[in-house]
Subunit: 187 residues, 2 copies
């Protein structure tokens, strides 16, 4: 189960067997059932999660109890309430399984020890952070400039395998429209 | 003029005089007048810019020639069309001076050499990337969950000095509404 993590990291930085054995010792394997929560709003966020198998939604719930989907995560993605994790504050979002899910958990103190022991992993995490930032910025631009239909098409093009697995009601909550609006657009 | 950069980096990683002297040699100082462009849409993006003095806007222009403000940058901020810079593609945005501006430019090849020579700077850039990602994610959540008036108030609270310097018409283009809508809300 750690093999996926190794392949994932080695896309950016090469590692010896000994190095990877040491690196993997910082991670904990966990298994969750569909609908289980990895992060609960209002609680401390202990881990950043690398998804080995499954599908998750990162959800922000507003004052009227309406759910907004901030992000999805599937195989080979990292997900957490990043602000709460990194700044060690309470979660403003929740992270919930859409499918049965297996993850590797990295606690913040272990993340710090890991980067100290393997400075090349800072390069790996930096690359991931840049990609996350670029994606978030593109999402901001899309939401300002194009309509729902085009944003939906962009999603399909960017993440074809994700779209097939995510229920339409959740895609609507990600795009910020109602399920009915998606249907009206024949999406 | 490099002193500001040193103070900025040393908030995250300590540096010796020799180290900083070497680091600063990777940067080039440049001065621009109000309305000048640092990045033109459709052209290659050579640099990431650290702002010493002044104010900039990062602009995405849509198919109808309408300008959308993706971000502002003032003293101590970094700004570029990050996707185009990092992936060495053509700019999809432009970066323009709202005030006379002085910057330190870091070319991508120099950024890479810099990180190779000073691995602790990857830690610095990683911290910056995380903060950028967190800010972008918060902006996405705000745009999905709260109205223009509240988003304006959040801006005022988060960046009080920025708000005083940015014309209302540009704040409207950042928030994704017309100047008239801002006025109607008495903002």
């Amino acid at each position: 189960m750690f093999e996926k993590l190794r392949i994932h990291i080695e896309k950016i930085v090469p590692l010896s067997d000994e190095e990877f054995e040491h690196i993997s010792s910082f991670f904990t394997y966990k298994k969750y059932k569909k609908h289980q929560f990895l992060i609960q709003e209002g609680e401390l966020v202990l881990c950043n999660y690398f998804v080995i198998k499954g599908l998750l939604k990162l959800v922000y719930t507003d004052d009227t109890a309406k759910e907004h989907i901030v992000g999805f995560a599937m195989e080979d993605w990292w997900e957490t309430d990043f602000q709460a994790y990194y700044k060690q504050t309470k979660a403003s979002m929740s992270l919930e399984c859409i499918e049965d899910t297996e993850v590797l958990c990295l606690r913040l103190e272990d993340y710090r020890k890991l980067c100290e022991a393997f400075p090349q992993l800072e390069h790996f995490f930096l690359e991931k952070a840049y990609m996350g930032f670029i994606s978030a910025q593109q999402r901001i631009i899309s939401s300002m400039t194009v309509g729902i239909k085009e944003r939906y098409q962009q999603l399909v093009e960017k993440y074809p395998s994700l779209i097939q697995r995510v229920p339409k009601s959740l895609l609507a909550a990600y795009l910020g429209v109602s399920r009915e609006t998606l249907s009206r657009l024949s999406l």
